[in-house]
Amino acid sequence: MSLKIHQDHSRFKAIVRGKIKANLRKYVQKGEMLGKKGKDAISIPIPFIDIPRFKYGHKEQGGVGQGDGEVGQSLGPGQPQPGDGHGHAGQGEGDHALEVDVTLDELAQILGEELQLPNIERRHNEKIVTQKIKYTGINTTGPESLRHFKRTFKQALKRQIATGTYDPKKPVIIPTREDRRYRSYKLQDLPETNAVIIYMMDVSGSMGDEQKEIVRIESFWLDTWLRHQYKGLESRYIIHDAVAREVDRETFFHTRESGGTMISSAYKLCRDIIAADYPKSAWNIYPFHFSDGDNWSADDTRQCIEMLKNDVLPNVNQFAYGQVESPYGSGQFIKDLREAVGDQSNVALSEIADKDAIYNSIKDFLGKGR
């Protein structure tokens, strides 16, 4: 009996993958599923993978339970399920919609296949790998330096109580050799970060919540894809209205200012950050800028284009600009960019009308494989 389940397991995973693929457009637009499961994986509900039967509606059914409580008392959140925590032959009817965990890496792969994204040509291939210790469990043997004191004493306490040698009045616990417990560990390879995304966003009054939601979702997918490509990734966040400042991710998505818009201020800061922290020779650099296309003056726009041409584009893998449609913006900026730098190979421009457009916008940004 080798583990022949792996065949059926990968078959199942292939089916799930197919379902995710088929619904990818829907998932891409959905913000709420994102980041639900921590940083490595997310939970995606898969429609109808359990097998339909003639059966009673769950709410129709009700049943008999056991325990304390008055009539009329609520049984608490969650659906009561006749479960017993034991596996048993022939049992286990799948009653709930299936939630599968998908790693972000796999999701990125699916995204790549579906959008036919080319793999990024890296400018810098060197990977510096470091190792990290990950503690995975408890063992009965191990080096003394990894002894788990709490577990060891718990074990000793258990033994002493059971053998009747524990005296509550004189609670001395002496672990024997058999009581000792040790942490067990695994070594993990950690690739060094060698790519950076610099997000810039206009937070002036004309950028509403809806626009920011779009930026948030889109940046999730950009992150996911680039992380899939690079295995290690740094992110920096710049917000601007008339002036620019660097912030953390949380602030980035939740700031709303009312001032005017000077895009050049952001580009200037972006340029400075690159110069200070990310030498071109060792970093793959991705500035992404989102705004509603309104800029303070034609003069400022000219300044932006100068800076792009001279300082930013020569140093980065790709510069991307996403224009989110808003009722207030004139939408002029993308036209100016298109005219000035639209033909450059490491520039990606995208107009995002609404959530529905995120799907294609991702392709605009990532389709060049830069």
Binding site: I5, D8, F54, G62, G65, G67, G87, A162
Partner: protein, 497 residues
């Protein structure tokens, strides 16, 4: 790879086996295999049969079990297969006290499998049979392609619960009498007896013979009500009458066999788990436990017996009922005199020192299933003592809540949930509905409506086997409805019931 028992485990097994025999348990030879948790998850995913036919849903099961284990939500301690010999699995990483508990529990199950009447007709060579099924399915996959075969299995699984739970045997061949009748009918159209061969054409002209033959044919059609009586075994009906390809029929028969094999386990879940728990607890506490194992044992045992609000734990309900029966028959708390006594004090101190408890439970484990077990032995006192209640969904407050603690209602609800294994009762009523080869099913409504989206999806799968439109009569909100799927569209119309 599973290992046979280490000398240490073999010694423990020897010990537990001795106690089990001493207490009078009677079982097939039981073979333990030692597995890692990963192998345990795998075996459990296959419903206990590692050599089962390939299908994605075992992979899904495995994914869920592995995840449950990784997150520390669940761990499978025990797994045993009804077969002769019985097979059971031990988790390699378990401590001795766990292994002893599991062994004792397993011997309880094996005794039940061997002796309870519900299992009398199950295939005791199911391990071989399952491997045989797997070979057949694989052969079809090689021939027809994995997509097509798996898709057919998916659709058939959707109908898997449509068997006759109470049929003692699986019928596999058509009724031989019917074949006989048909042969006779064909004989009769030979026409009148002819003595001289040259007269044949005059006495039995071909038009006459043809009309005779047609008459017989018509008569046969008319007399063959189809099916003659409503048929609960929908899978069998399809096997006999649906226009299936040979490979489809083969797979359908495989899934039907397996459904029948597992049916008795569903019908005796409370009894069986209770019985096994009763015996692990008896064997451990009376014989096998060492002093320093008591805490771990208590922890394990109470973990298994724990109840959460809104769930019914078959282990707990089962063991308590067995103990209650034993106690009542030990003390003589049954029969006319007991039933008619309404003096609370007398009832409380009632003890006729009959000592017939052990004997009684051995007898009960032979002749009952969950329904008759609960119906016969669940008393009002027991329901109060065990704090049983009926729960249901309160639409207004959008929550599950305790509805009632009244004994009769508790018992009725419990029995309702066990009837037909908690599945709706559905029959084939007509295989030639409206004289258009449509299929008509009827749902015997018992107060609970079918889940609508599932019903429609199931009809779709049924239609793909029957190839002609399919219909089912049921009730929604008290009104008769006929759901129909014609291969392209779903529709429904009101019907009077």
């Amino acid at each position: 790879m599973p290992k046979s028992l280490t000398p240490r485990l073999a010694a423990l097994n020897e010990e537990i086996l001795g106690y089990a025999r001493e207490f009078g348990l009677d079982f097939f030879e039981t073979i333990f295999e030692v597995v890692t948790y990963d192998e345990m998850n795998m075996v459990a995913s296959y419903g206990g049969f590692p050599n089962r036919y390939p299908h994605w849903r075992w992979g899904m099961e495995y994914e869920q079990l592995s995840k449950g284990y990784e997150y520390g939500l669940s761990k499978i301690y025990e797994l045993v297969i009804n077969n002769d010999p019985c097979y059971a699995y031990l988790l390699e990483s378990n401590a001795d006290v766990d292994q002893k508990l599991v062994m004792a529990h397993v011997y309880g199950h094996c005794d039940f499998f061997k002796n309870n009447f519900s299992f009398r007709h199950t295939n005791r060579r199911m391990i071989d049979e399952m491997a045989n099924h797997a070979t057949r399915v694989r052969r079809w996959i090689d021939k027809i392609g994995v997509e097509k075969v798996e898709d057919f299995i998916d659709r058939t699984l959707s109908l898997e619960n449509l068997i006759d739970q109470h049929a003692p045997h699986i019928r596999r061949n058509p009724d031989p009498r019917r074949a006989e009748d048909e042969a006779k009918a064909n004989e009769r159209v030979e026409g009148f007896k002819v003595n001289r061969e040259y007269m044949r054409g005059f006495i039995n002209p071909s038009e006459f013979l043809e009309s005779q033959r047609k008459k017989v044919e018509d008569e046969k059609q008319r007399s063959k009500k189809f099916p003659e009586r409503p048929q609960r075994d929908v899978l069998y009906f399809l096997l006999e009458n649906a226009p299936l390809e040979p490979w489809e029929a083969d797979i359908l028969s495989i899934l039907r066999d397996e459904a029948y094999y597992f049916a008795p386990q569903g019908q005796t879940k409370i009894m069986n788990e209770g019985w096994a728990s009763y015996w692990h607890s008896t064997i451990m506490t009376r014989r096998a436990l060492k002093d320093d194992e008591i805490i771990d044992y208590a922890d394990r045992h109470s973990g298994t017996m724990g109840t959460r609000p809104g769930t019914l734990n078959p282990y707990k309900l089962g063991i308590e009922l067995w103990r209650d029966i034993e106690d009542r028959w030990n003390k003589g708390r049954f029969g006319k005199e007991w039933d008619e006594c309404d003096d609370l004090r007398a009832r409380g101190s009632w003890d006729k020192k009959l000592g017939a408890g052990r004997e009684k439970i051995f007898e009960v484990r032979k002749h009952y299933n969950d329904i008759t077990f609960i119906d016969t032995f669940l008393t009002a006192e027991f329901a109060i003592e065990q704090k049983l209640f009926v729960y249901g969904f309160n639409d207004k407050r959008n929550s599950w809540e305790i509805l009632d603690r009244e004994f009769r209602k508790v018992k009725a609800k419990l029995l309702q949930g066990l009837t037909n294994f908690g599945q709706p009762i559905i029959e084939v009523v007509d295989g030639n509905f409206e004289n258009r080869s449509e299929l008509l099913l009827a749902h015997k409504h018992d107060g609970q409506d079918l889940k609508g989206d599932y019903a429609r999806e199931t009809l779709r799968n049924l239609q793909s086997l029957w190839r002609r439109p399919v219909n089912i009569v049921t009730r929604y909100d008290g009104k008769g409805v006929m759901l129909r799927y014609d291969g392209q569209n779903h529709s429904e119309k009101k019907v009077d019931l």
